[in-house]
Symmetry: C2
Subunit: 149 residues, 2 copies
DNA sequence: TCATTTTAGTCTTATATGCCCTTAATTGCA
DNA sequence: TGCAATTAAGGGCATATAAGACTAAAATGA
């Protein structure tokens, strides 16, 4: 008889998603306490835009390994609150250039202590070296080109 | 002057969430191809219920490191499609006992080849040993008791 | 040039996630 | 015993995520 393996115990996706929920709650809680009114994903998007400069939605989606439709949806509240500006590209009118506004930069600063607190608390418990190993491992995972079909 | 660190590059939450999106797409795609009509989270919930037996929503939430409300929301489509049964506990009428139905077990079986394909593809590219390391690391992350406030 | 194909982004729909507040039930304690 | 505090779950709200269909614009190629 075929031994029925314990799928949840060995599923790489299940484990990764579970850890993601846990760490997101930590960062979201600290971010909320900072009063910036930003969620983890929003903080990431603004952080990327600050660091990398203006980007098209496609570029942003690729940078974050995110679906292009998802980026569009996630930008909606940020644009509504004037934290990002979305303009039609002059060189390709299909593309939209997303850039962070002064208000967005200001919100990032307000949220930074909250982020730093979460980052410090995580590394205090998990270890800074382990955290670095994890980030590198996550980069490797996100970098895989899966062959579908 | 304070050196402006590149937050997205060192943020543990950002890295983990990004990898999670990527691996979820792999598993969701393979699961969809299998024709089970299950998403990654649904496959996990049913897998846990099959392996661990009936659970209250609280227990299920704790098992999956998921918010109590989230479990409730995620069970909705599963209950609607008769993949799980939700009954009031006889010993505590506040609690709801969730159990997998025969239809749920059947769907799990239908999805299993899709899951196995995703699991195999991931480990082919990432390495089975690295995958095991990652799962253990993710367990460690999910097991941390963060001190809030 | 102009028709075909490809590409960027949107809209719709569905699930995923977690917060706050409320309701109902249980537990603990005076 | 009786009431306060606690606990389990539901409802409402907002964001997160992505597939699929669609629109518009650009690139391609005969």
């Amino acid at each position: 008889m075929a031994i029925d393996i314990n799928i949840p115990a060995v599923c790489n996706c299940t484990k990764l998603r579970r850890a993601q929920r846990h760490i997101t709650r930590l960062y979201d809680t600290c971010l909320a306490e900072s009063g910036a009114g930003l969620r983890a994903t929003q903080f990431s998007i603004l952080g990327y835009l600050k660091t990398e400069g203006p980007k098209t939605m496609m570029e942003l989606a690729e940078l974050m390994t995110m679906d292009r439709a998802t980026i569009g949806h996630n930008l909606r509240p940020l644009e509504r609150d004037s934290l990002v500006r979305i303009a039609v590209s002059e060189t390709d009118r299909r593309a939209r250039i997303v850039s962070i506004t002064d208000e967005g930069l200001s919100r990032l600063e307000i949220g930074k202590p909250g982020w730093a607190k979460a980052q410090a608390e995580f590394e205090r418990q998990f270890g800074a070296e382990n955290a670095k190993l994890m980030r590198d491992m996550m980069d490797d995972v996100a970098g895989i080109s899966f062959s579908f079909h």
